[in-house]
């Protein structure tokens, strides 16, 4: 049985949300944000999670928590995205695992 984990998400208005995320449902961060409706439908996950639109770009605020390494397609998409920072990732490319307990992220502005 995989445990639920706690994730802190700062939405685009700067509001912080502490949410509980399952780790046994093959869910990624983009889907987690959508399931809690922390960004309006149609403004996140536009391509459905193919790393092809950058609408789920987020900033990772907890560098100490290890995340899956960035793949080529994610890196390429981020290189075309706006508002990127050193700690930018695409939420759709980060599957939730038990090791991510306490992860904090902030959604990048809509573009």
């Amino acid at each position: 049985m995989n445990p639920d984990i706690n994730i802190i998400i700062t939405d685009r208005e700067g509001q912080k949300h502490e949410v509980v995320a399952p780790t046994d449902m093959n869910m990624n961060i983009m889907e987690l944000v959508r399931s809690y409706e922390l960004a309006p439908e149609g403004t996140i996950g536009v391509c459905g999670g193919m790393a092809m639109c950058a609408s789920c770009q987020c900033y990772i605020l907890t560098p100490q928590i290890e995340l899956p390494e960035m793949q080529d397609d994610e890196e390429a998409m981020l290189s075309e995205a706006f508002y990127t920072k050193e700690n930018s990732r695409l939420g759709c490319q980060i599957q939730l695992t038990p090791e991510m307990e306490g992860l904090a992220i902030e959604l990048a502005p809509e573009s």
Binding site: G42, V46, M52, S79, S111
Partner: protein
């Protein structure tokens, strides 16, 4: 004025399949789409990606799905208004509608089917000060007529297929083509990347990477762009240009449809899913990803189903006195408006002696 039976807004898979179902009912269709080609997201965002949940297709590329749909609806001769966005709608006294695009093209139909997906695709604009000031005065986000760039100095920014493909194409048209991208790696088809490298070696494309355009200058029209290399202020230089084409992809916006008086919930149009996917305005339907109802799933296969039921209701609206009996295509065949007819071959009856 373009006249049709069902005016479809959005030429994605759902909109395209609507043409087929309407055609079986002898209803003609016309489609409006903001993109220059049919197919919606499938053609624009992920043509080379596979889809696994189209019934009876264990695997199909999104681009092939669109090609197949275009082939399937060909006998029904759909009309297209492409590269234009549906802007306004007017309900006439007789209950029919006039839809006008941003280019002023008018369409008249008794039934409007909104199959707009997540909305119309608008170019994603880079964050450069004054960018808006030069729009259509040296800054353009889409290339409509390549000849426009003949003998001009052009700079293209972006790292995807469209940036690569247009750089290649314009290399033969423009006086000078400069391609600027934030990284050394490009995200396009391999042969496009190779071709750009070849043209760069031939001196036909001026490739500047990793670099970004950070400032624009010009009195009335764009005259130069400031390019920053390797994200270093000391590596900045001005490049004289006539035209700047930022190609950073497109993002969908519900846009003007949101102001049509339709009931909107979570960026989608509320419809009656117990019956015919009609909106709160009789005669306007919403099908596919653009609609919402309890239990809605944004899947292409659901859009196909919604389109099918919607056409039945549209038929009743257009011909209130006619009785319609659903016929299987295997039984009734498919008779196109182009005179073509497809039907199942008759079984051979032969006695065995």
């Amino acid at each position: 004025m373009i006249k049709t039976d069902i005016l479809i807004i959005g030429a994605g898979p759902t909109g395209l399949f609507t043409v087929f179902e309407a055609g079986l009912l002898k209803l003609k269709c016309h489609l409006i789409d903001a993109l220059p080609q049919p197919g919606g997201q499938c053609a624009e965002i992920y043509p080379k990606k596979p889809i696994y949940d189209i019934p009876a297709f264990p695997e199909v590329l999104a681009g092939d799905l669109v090609d197949n749909l275009m082939e399937q609806i060909k006998p029904f001769e759909p009309g297209f208004t492409l590269g234009e966005r549906a802007d306004t709608i007017e309900k006439l006294d007789d209950g029919t509608f006039v839809v006008t695009t941003n280019k002023g093209t008018k369409h008249h139909a008794p039934v409007v089917a909104i199959a707009g997906g997540l909305g119309s695709f608008e170019p994603r604009k880079p964050l450069i000060e004054n960018l808006g000031h030069y729009e259509d005065k040296g800054v353009r986000y889409m290339i409509k007529d390549p000849e426009f760039y003949r003998d001009k100095k052009v700079v293209i920014a972006g790292g995807g297929d469209s940036a690569l493909d247009w750089s290649i194409f314009l290399a033969d048209v423009a006086e000078e083509v400069t391609l600027v991208h934030r990284r050394n790696e490009f995200r396009g088809a391999l042969d496009s990347v190779d071709k750009v490298k070849e043209l760069k070696d031939l001196g036909k494309i001026n490739l500047i990477t990793p670099a970004e355009i950070v400032q624009l200058e010009g009195k009335n029209f764009l005259e130069a762009v400031l390019i920053r290399k390797s994200n270093e202020a000391k590596e900045e230089f001005w490049l004289p240009v006539d035209e700047f084409i930022p190609l950073f992809g497109l993002s969908p916006k519900l846009g003007p449809i949101a102001d049509w008086g339709l009931e909107i919930e979570k960026n989608a149009i509320k419809v009656d899913n117990s019956l015919d996917y009609q909106t709160n305005i009789p005669g306007i339907y919403a099908i596919g990803d653009v609609n919402t109802y309890p239990g809605k799933l944004k899947l292409i296969l659901c859009g196909f189903h919604e389109a099918t039921l919607m056409c039945q209701s549209a038929y009743q609206r257009i011909f209130p006195d006619k009785k319609y009996v659903m016929k299987y295509t295997t039984v009734g065949g498919v008779t196109g408006f182009d005179g073509s007819k497809k039907e199942a071959p008759k079984a051979v009856v032969k006695a065995i002696n």
